[in-house]
Symmetry: C2
Subunit: 349 residues, 2 copies
């Protein structure tokens, strides 16, 4: 029931997603009468759909803490409960982001080895696509959080984007080793001790996002949120300038008519609906947040992302990778201890 | 002697800046023989130029601390010394940013009431232009720093950009009052106690940069640096996509030929050389940093920015504004004290 155009857009989005999600069934949680009426209009979707009724929903401007305490019967809460109970493989919502994260964290809990979940998203770049996290779940992050984000981003890139050995970069104000604050310098040192080391590119800067210098961009939630929105804002500014330029003279208008086909391709490639669906990573359950203002096409993309994560066993893979990582970090710590012990013996001799 | 194309680009840039800087004289610091040879090629510039010779210069990759200690005879140091001694009204350099800030801070010192200088730059927006600071001088900032940045940005916007009452925004992850970390929430509360209060917009988000929601964007140096480079990178990505699109088919190429005039105007408006020149604000002297890779046109813009700041008495105005601000903050603190005193008396009764 969340988002600007629910439930119509949600049901229409599911119908579009149907073809990209083979053997998927849909569980709609919300106002039964409205959802059933909509399903009548989507005859292919109806037989693979179930509706769980609730009149309650989380308002778009509700405080997360209030939504968590008071919204036990809300459509958002019941949809997340369905993931916790195993009735659903994943949940997709276009509702209130803060409430969704708070409820998902409370109901699903974090995966073993993950201190805090992160919000991740896919960005278009000059070379293809990059996944960036965190985008706002954690305003301040320590080195451990950042290392865990790197693991989660890597597993996402492998399983959902299909990259064999994605490269990882830490977002910083310069690429030299001494740049930035303590947390990222510590995270960089820790990553060099892990199995991710060969794919760890080091520090990257803001302009590397659009260049696609790395496949996984790791940052704290404050910086990531500002960077993502700055990139989106700049992209919109350019689209607007382009529109004005093509309208600025008769010749330019004619030029547009000729180049229209080529520009339609560009528009498709940069369509924000293609990149709709922010993934909540690090939870014991798959949860994807759609933009509240998207349409059915955008929502179907968010569903497809969640479906891919679920069908590729995304969380099992994160769990496995974290176990490997922790073993490697423990071994590195043991080695450092042994070496310093040997060092002191030598000093005694 | 700094930047990729010095000293040629520097001398040529000064010649271009000459017309926009009435009654300006130029002091060139560096390799006398090379500079004199270049001045021969710019006959109108030569009579208003002086050359101060030094064979030393700061390498582009030198550590700031090393440049500060070892570079006492460097062209950068001597140029800043000339501002300190009053021989020059302002200094412009295309050299090593970290070294320039370290030397400028050491030689010029900060203005009274300013704890830390900040780097500011002008950005193109949908509505016109916005000034943003800090862009990397201070990775972590407390509320006092941010309030001082707001004052410096406001004075810059008034004196250099000519806005009567520029609006100020604090860059955050959301616009609601409870968003963000402590430092920005404190800075917002403090700004509401100052004479800037009527022009304080509150929190803004990354997408507000391109929208031009406010005239002055205040942020810490880490976030500002990432946001600026992200915006620049996204702009380049779009320019690149645009180029590819116009080349993707014969019709698109023809379309470009027709729309070329309109696109040349757009290119001029978005020309990064127009926005060249990062201002070091809060020092007892005017210091502007040009991009190292710019050309004479870009460098002339950096000179024009410095000239404008000097001829409008920029630093005197910051000093005055800070005095007013401090009086207002002191009055607010007194008032809060009085009120709590009255409160406790009432409680006793």
């Amino acid at each position: 029931m969340g988002g600007d155009h629910a439930p119509d857009m949600v049901v229409a989005g599911a119908d579009l997603a149907r073809e990209r999600c083979p053997n998927a069934d849909f569980l709609f949680v919300g106002d039964e009468a409205r959802i059933n009426a909509l399903l009548e209009r989507h005859p292919a979707l109806k037989p693979i759909s179930t509706v769980r009724h609730t009149p309650d929903f989380v308002a778009m401007d509700a405080k997360p803490s209030v939504a968590l305490r008071a919204g036990r019967n809300s459509s958002m809460r019941l949809a997340i409960d369905a993931v916790a109970s195993g009735d659903a493989a994943c949940v997709v919502s276009a509702g209130n982001t803060g409430a969704l994260m708070a409820i998902a964290k409370f109901v699903l809990k974090t995966l073993p080895g993950i201190d805090r979940p992160a919000i991740a998203s896919i960005l278009p770049t000059q070379r293809g696509e990059t996944v960036m996290l965190d985008l706002g779940a954690n305003l301040e992050c320590d080195a451990d959080n950042l290392v865990q984000f790197a693991v989660m981003g890597t597993v996402f890139s492998r399983t959902v984007l299909g990259l064999l050995n994605p490269t990882v970069g830490l977002l910083n104000v310069g690429s030299e080793e001494q740049k930035g604050h303590e947390q990222i310098r510590e995270a960089a040192a820790a990553l060099r001790q892990t199995p991710l080391a060969p794919y760890f590119h080091g520090f990257i800067e803001g302009n590397d996002l659009a260049l696609g210098t790395v496949d996984v961009v790791v940052t704290d939630g404050f910086t990531g949120n500002v960077a993502l929105k700055t990139a989106e804002g700049t992209a919109k500014l350019y689209a607007e300038f382009l529109r004005r330029t093509f309208r600025s003279s008769l010749l330019a208008k004619l030029g547009y008519l000729l180049a229209k086909g080529a520009f339609n391709k560009l528009r498709q490639r940069m369509d924000p609906r293609r990149y709709n669906g922010a993934m909540f990573l690090g939870l014991r359950g798959i949860c994807v947040k759609s933009h509240g203002g998207t349409d059915a096409v955008g929502f179907s993309n968010a569903i497809a992302v969640a479906f891919n994560m679920a069908s590729h066993g995304f969380n099992d893979k994160i769990r496995d990778q974290l176990a490997v990582l922790q073993a490697a970090l423990a071994a590195a710590a043991d080695k450092a201890r042994d070496e310093s012990a040997t060092g002191s013996e030598t000093a005694v001799q």
